[in-house]
Symmetry: C2
Subunit: 379 residues, 2 copies
């Protein structure tokens, strides 16, 4: 394939800055080494084997997935140790068994006696072995049993009498995304750690081994001071970062490795609007910065080198139209970009923006596109 | 393929109620007949030939598209008359010519002398003929020249001296989505009609033919009282409808043909939460009802027959988790749904939710899935 440069791409297009990505990965690796824990990267953000290979400790994993299609895809690319980190639904067990049949050690998650009962029944009927973690609720934001719940030990004891192996406990401090300072993230990391370690201790006190103690989110993984008692950490969005992460000081804006290449298609000069061909289909509908101190609209507009055009953001979006304007609403005519000018837009949320595309255009030095990496969607 | 029923689908899955869709299409057809205009359905909502075939007046179109990939896909399925209704960017002209080369009469849109100049240059250099419409701004929400702008006639006169045919004028009253009453939608339809007809009159007064006068949005198309001077109407979301449309009384909740099938995976009983396996990846991040009188969260939860569970909505969403609760926030324990229970969730916005899936599961009488229709994404 002849080399392409940014200027030759049809827009909108998803751009992945390889050097920034590699720097972000090295930052996480270095933190994992410092903390002395193993790393089970979450691949839900990237959904791409080329990215995952740079994240994984070995070509066989381990990894964390959010869907069984991710499990199936990464299994087809040789990954053998996969944790499906969403509580299992009964209608997914056929799919689970199909993935197991590819030689994958696939761990499942549950947080109730109800699901444990269903799983035990299916294990018996299908003569199957399942590996299971119990989800712990460390911050009240989603699923999980609380670390002190009677049900935690009940589930463990119930599983002992079935063909199911209790591998351990898992938690995710999703609330860390709403922290307003690094000190708050540190405190959340300690809350997450203490909760999941306490849960493991209770299971062990009741006679269970509980070898795995898993926690993680990008903010808490990067800012935890120590992780005593934790055996593995999960995180995914750090590989690209995004404006939500920059908004809580987990990264700087110039660490963001993902952007959307767009083109100026018109103007409404009296309003100070520049119309781009990247709307919410190109950016996603994610407005994750709306409740942060600085609302970035649908994204921060940068030049082709990835440098922000100061205070110019997407203030609005239709399906295929983005409205670029000064964030203050003032009519700033100093920034006239002729029709055809290309810009790059940093996204609020890497997971949702990347999901709008079938591939990454990998950006190397200069404006060169060095590779095209496929990604997938769906369940 | 053996017949499947809803209960056998792995979740999340996109469900299309065929009877509701057909009823919605008939409603629009009947309105078009009453208004005496031709219909150029917008296929950006469905991106699926099986749906489009039911919308189109003939197998060859006409249709409206929002991306050149839509143009390319529908051209490959035999559609010959396509309007690309987003102002053209220079880097898309190679793609435009490739679509033209399939025997398609592809009309382009522009709203400035700047773009007209670029297009004329490319037409000359490539020895190509382009058909063009000028976008008219009828409500200040996006692109277009105002109907009274001097630039409108300048563009028309400029194009006359090039190889480009000025086919007419086009407007889209996107502001109709924010109307709060049927009376307001009627007034917006008249504003849209008057603006685009006035623009056509000005071009004709300056000696141009301007055969096409195109307007449309689902609300204004359905509630316009008359469309004198308009030659064609465009609309897309009506085929499925959604909660945003129901919220402005353009349809009833039980007209919504699209839903997401999801499964209960857990509970947080003290909070009154039921956790579903449909998060924002399954619903999209669209929060289009957030500014309406009734905020529907990430969607209205229904039983398997599509009947709303009164006042139960998705109050929150993570990537693969939806949090179902009473809209008031009160802990309503009357509605306990065991793990494994399936529900159907009505979306805020059909265009964005459908975009998260690779196919529609077509729902016939009872709970039977009568077909699987592929759809596509990207540019």
């Amino acid at each position: 394939m002849p080399k392409q440069v940014l200027e030759q791409l049809e827009t909108p297009a998803l751009i992945l800055d390889e050097a920034r990505m590699d720097r972000n990965i090295e930052r996480m690796r270095s933190q994992m080494r410092r903390l002395g824990v193993s790393f089970r990267p979450h691949v839900k953000t990237n959904k791409c084997i080329d990215v995952a290979r740079r994240l994984m400790e070995t070509p066989e994993g381990p990894i964390t997935v959010s869907t069984l299609l991710e499990a199936e895809y990464f299994a087809a690319h040789g990954v053998k140790d996969i944790l499906y980190a969403v509580c299992i639904a009964p209608n997914k067990l056929d799919h689970v068994m199909a993935v197991q049949d590819k030689g994958v050690q696939l761990s499942l998650l549950l947080d109730s006696m109800e699901t444990a009962g269903i799983l035990a029944e299916r294990a018996k009927a299908a003569q199957r072995h399942f590996d299971v973690l119990i989800e712990i609720d460390s911050d009240g934001h989603r699923s999980g049993v609380t670390p002190d719940a009677a049900e935690l030990v009940e589930i463990g004891q119930f599983l002992e009498g079935t063909g199911i192996s209790l591998k351990g406990v898992l938690t995710h401090a999703g609330s860390s995304y709403a922290c307003r300072s690094v000190a708050a993230i540190r405190a959340m990391a300690e809350q997450e750690r203490a909760a999941v370690v306490h849960a493991a201790d209770r299971l062990r006190a009741a006679g269970m081994a509980c070898p795995v103690v898993s926690m993680g989110s990008t903010p808490t993984a990067l800012f935890a001071e120590h992780l005593e008692g934790v055996t593995e950490v999960r995180a995914g969005v750090f590989v690209f970062f995004d404006l939500v992460m920059a908004g809580i000081n987990v990264c700087q804006v110039d660490d963001i490795a993902l952007s959307v290449l767009a083109t100026v298609i018109g103007h409404q000069r009296e309003k100070g609007w520049t119309i781009l061909d990247a709307g919410w289909m190109a950016m996603s509908r994610d407005r994750g910065t709306a409740n942060q101190p600085v609302d970035q609209g649908y994204g921060v507009v940068c030049d082709l080198d990835g440098r922000p055009l100061d205070d110019f953001i997407l203030v609005g979006a239709n399906q295929e139209h983005g409205i670029m304007a000064h964030r203050s609403g003032k009519v700033d005519t100093a920034r006239h970009l002729p029709v055809g000018t290309q810009v790059r837009i940093l996204p609020n949320h890497a997971c949702s923006t990347a999901a709008q595309y079938g591939h990454y255009n990998v950006l190397g030095p200069g404006h060169e596109i060095t590779a095209t990496w496929q990604r997938f969607s769906g369940w």
